[in-house]
């Protein structure tokens, strides 16, 4: 298992806390277009512990998907590049690795589920063929054992009649089933980390619930860590142990899930929570956060949220607030909370 890089320099063991699986530090991923530099991810740091489910929450354009793609080394080239940052996984920096080693990690120790199951499966190959690929590649199985594993994987995600389904094509599956197939593809090698990038967004509401509970069960059984990227706070409440709130390419608040809901620190987090209609609480009208998230090429200086923040001060417009710890691993970036 290729887990160590061939760095000449001694690498300080950044996974000192024994149960930290992934530690991302100072990740910056920029898009280079002819007109401007778009800072999709602008300094993101967070950790994921073993067996933990971490939520990555934010509006579209906040950089959540790009963060995940950056960790996996799947940033779309040409055009985008990881400019800075480290991603320590099992004692090695994913972002400093050569492509070959990184491929050994992908699909084996970390897996990914994407948003649209219709387009994430190759239409011209059977489901069995596609699910078997990581099994063949990483688990090095051959012959009948491959098929056996494929069936196991399909059964694990509760696809009925796997013997029949295995020879079918993606378009013969419904949306929810397809997403399960994708999950099977990812989990067949029992990875340590699963990145789920809004996997339920394009599913029907009822199917969503099924899928979420499926992932929860699988996660509990296998102890896989999960990064749930979503804009749906309901899912966050259901699955996550910890939540990172992203805005304009940065994490503005990170806290344990109960704390986030009970005592959010950052004005953006508060606004997000307020905008979720709560059963039983009567409201005049739905609360909406005023304004729009800033366009990638025109982010305001200082704290990017200040144009929409009801408590914006002068300092907010000038300087980005530093990290302030709010207890344990939790932190927030806000001048209002600064010690």
């Amino acid at each position: 298992m290729s887990g160590q890089t061939d760095a000449a320099l001694p690498t300080p063991d950044k996974t000192a806390d024994a149960d930290i699986l992934l530690r991302v530090e100072g990740l910056k991923t920029y898009f280079y277009t002819r007109k401007a530099v778009l800072k999709a991810v602008d300094g993101v740091s967070f950790t994921v512990r073993k067996g933990e489910t971490v939520g990555l929450v934010g509006e579209s354009g906040s950089g959540k998907s790009m963060t995940c793609l950056s960790i996996m080394g799947l940033v779309p080239t040409p055009g985008a590049r990881v400019v800075e940052g480290e991603a320590w996984f099992g004692g090695a920096d994913l972002l400093a690795m050569n492509k070959q080693d990184l491929r050994g990690y992908r699909g084996r120790r970390m897996a990914m589920i994407m948003q649209d199951p219709q387009t994430s499966l190759n239409p011209v190959y059977t489901v069995g063929n596609q699910v078997s690929e990581p099994i063949r590649l990483h688990l090095k199985e051959r012959g009948e054992r491959v098929m056996a594993r494929v069936m196991d994987a399909l059964r694990a995600v509760r696809i009925p009649q796997p013997e029949v389904r295995v020879a079918q094509y993606p378009h013969q599956f419904s949306g929810g089933m397809r997403q399960r197939v994708v999950a099977a593809m990812g989990l067949s090698t029992h990875p340590e980390l699963l990145i789920a990038d809004e996997p339920t967004t394009s599913l029907d509401v009822t199917i969503q619930a099924q899928f979420v509970s499926l992932i929860k069960d699988l996660q509990r059984e296998s102890g896989t860590s999960v990064i749930w990227v979503t804009h749906d706070l309901g899912i966050v409440a259901q699955c996550c142990d910890r939540v990172n709130v992203m805005y304009a390419g940065r994490i503005v608040e990170s806290a344990e899930v109960r704390k986030i809901f009970k005592a959010p620190q950052h004005p953006y987090t508060k606004a997000l929570l307020n905008s979720v209609p709560v059963k039983g609480v009567k409201r005049e009208r739905l609360y909406q956060i005023d304004g729009q998230p800033p366009a990638l090429e025109s982010r305001p200086s200082g704290c990017p949220f200040w144009p929409r923040c009801p408590h914006a001060m002068d300092t907010c417009k000038e300087e980005y607030p530093p990290k302030t710890s709010t207890g344990g691993d939790d932190f927030v970036h806000c001048w209002l909370v600064e010690n």
């Binding site: 277009t33 007109k35 387009t119």
Partner: protein, 307 residues
Amino acid sequence: MTGKKLHARDIGASAAPADTASIGRQLHTALSALKRAPLVPTSILGILISFAVFAPLIAPHNPIKIDIMANLTPPVWHEGGSSQYLLGTDKLGRDVLSRMIYGSRLSLSLSLIVIFLGGTTGVLLGMISGYLGGFVDALIQRSVEAMLALPTILVALVFVFTFGFGFWNVVFILSPFIAARFARMVRGETLSIKERDYVASAKVIGTSKAGIILRHILPNVANTVIVLATLEVGHLILVESSLSFLGVGIPPPNPAWGLMVSEGREYIATAYWISLFPGIAILAAVLSLNLFGDWLRDVLDPRRKQL
């Protein structure tokens, strides 16, 4: 578009519905956009068009006047060449350069006439077929497809056998093929345009079918029609020159480029210039038209940017 990575170019290209009133505006933007056109193809096209229009003024010699004494003169840079005949003369002593210049007249006029005849028919048929649907559509579409399944040059041979060759015969043969190509493309466009909101609102206020077709559908297919027309002119030049080369297109003594190439064939080893230069003219013309048409396509419909 879920599932595809968003590029900067996907965002922002607007498809505002056109109507007859805005055509004036579009023309104005088009003309000013021409300034940004790719230099080389546009210049070559400009040269060719001026050759065609001003041939009698530009050409140094009469293209069909025979002068046996001066036959097979090499181009000016060879030994035995003369500055009188810059690109040499053919077997009958006719100046290659002058014939080439007049040839542009033939090629361009033929192509334009065919595009006009075939194009208008095809666009009309395409819009009618696409908009009306049903039996009319089936009839037109099936015929168009049958037409497109025909091997052009071979059918032209049969036609020529029956009716003989010549400039107008070629026009007559090629127009239906062009009409079929336009019809197929316009029908496809019409099918998607007719689902749009402004068509629905026109229907609601009681506009007649003909009115909708002319006032709403036509301006919106205009862009793709223009691009196709540009590309088809190039294609036509190739087909017509092939027919003339074979001797079943424009007849001698006309200075058709294809004909010139075939006339020079027997002298290829000794007087290569007779075949070489007209062929270069064809290549230059078609290449510029293709490049120009390609640029035009990018300008008029940036979302469909292709090779």
